[in-house]
Symmetry: none
Subunit: 247 residues, 2 copies
């Protein structure tokens, strides 16, 4: 069940941390690691800290941008400190696991830079934000330690589900099975691009003064976790608006 | 509540691990560290990895035997791999936290050597054994990562107790407080009426053959449970579309 979970590290500075992350992942049964522009990789320091999880490092994919790392994922969770400008669905690691593990969605969990985490723009690519409830005033965990906590909660949830399945309860979360595949990251981004373009054309969005309009739109639609048909319907609406304006 | 918890490390080889443990402790609100015959301490490597948790290292007590570290404790928990010669009360980290945090007893949680953990004799000094449920075949966590998981569970339990004492959960479920009231039923219905009217005007919705378009739109937006501002923004968009078409 955890094969669908990808750990994404953005702009990691210290290769030792990448090794520590690989070890933490392997201990908890995760194996899909994606590195967005790491400062130094591959690295002997990473190999040493991985302490036997070399297969994870060897199979890690290195990409140049977060969007590429997320492209085939249907659910993205960003790790975050508490304060952010606009409220976004925020969960603790346990709640995160209860969302991620039972779902069939390809999921990315995104960790930011050692010194300053993820940017607001990066966080807005994510459906949920997860916060490890550290103490105020000393809140920044080492990145490998943060991955360890997240991976631990995923494994605890998986073990719980396995135990439940043996005992029978397998509660459906919708009235019927959701029969349509969820939209992936790339489809959602095309939708948001199309929406932004249309809002500019109808002069609702002023590109000189965009305010929080697109973040609000993203937040609203991502909360709903749209499926592929829903995204197509919305894009059909946008196309119809643009056609009317030109025609 | 966590002041009564002491972290005890037995014969740690790598000073970097001691630093990592100090950081993990401080992140989660623990501050009592006791080192049983560490190989190298104090150490600059430990200080560097502690990344700001120097106070924990400075106040750490170094002793020569585990018994001395446990002397003033009323409860001792030893971290352990699964197989042991004689059965002993074995808990997972969550169960451990639910035992330790509510109790008034001075408690030590004991972590063994990097390469081979605690001896059977050391484990038998402990009331409970705690096991982090890692995967078979790659079960040894880095010691700082193990302390992070244990300390995280202690903190989660403490936050749960605090919330219960306040008489309800006040954990924030959003990155900041959701400051805007949710839309009520009537506002949502006006939004859907406005949307339907607009979709007809742009000739996306055929009133003679509406198919499942409006139910899909409803389902999508209601899943997101929009607030009043979000509903107003959406209605602003619809108004802008209609104005463009007429103007």
């Amino acid at each position: 069940m955890l094969e669908k979970v990808r750990i994404v590290l953005v702009n990691t500075t210290h290769p030792g941390n990448i090794g520590g992350v690989a070890r933490a992942m392997k201990n908890m049964g995760l194996d899909d690691l994606c590195l967005v522009s790491p400062k130094e990789f591959p690295s002997e320091v990473a190999d040493a800290r991985a302490s036997g999880a070399l297969d994870i490092l060897e199979n890690a994919r290195v990409v140049s941008g977060l969007e590429e790392a997320l492209a085939d994922c249907q659910l993205a969770v960003g790790t975050s400190a508490r304060e952010r400008h606009i409220p976004w669905p925020l969960v603790n690691p346990r709640e995160m696991a209860s969302i991620v593990v039972p779902s069939p969605q390809k999921t990315a969990i995104v960790f930011g830079r050692e010194d300053r985490g993820l940017t607001n723009e990066e966080l807005q690519l994510c459906h949920h934000h997860v916060n490890i409830p550290s103490v105020e005033g000393f809140s920044s965990l080492n990145i490998a330690a943060a991955v360890q906590v997240i991976a631990y909660e995923l494994r605890m949830e998986q073990l719980k589900l396995e135990a439940n399945q043996k005992g029978g309860s397998d509660r459906p979360s919708w009235g019927t099975d959701w029969d349509i595949e969820l939209a992936d990251h790339a489809e959602l981004e095309r939708l948001f691009d199309h929406l932004e373009e249309t809002l500019i054309k109808i002069e609702f969005l002023d590109p000189e003064n965009p305010r929080q309009l697109m973040p609000r739109m993203r937040r609203l639609l991502m909360r709903a976790v749209p499926d592929k048909v829903e995204v197509n319907v919305l894009r059909g609406v946008l196309k119809a608006v643009q056609k009317k304006l030109l025609g």
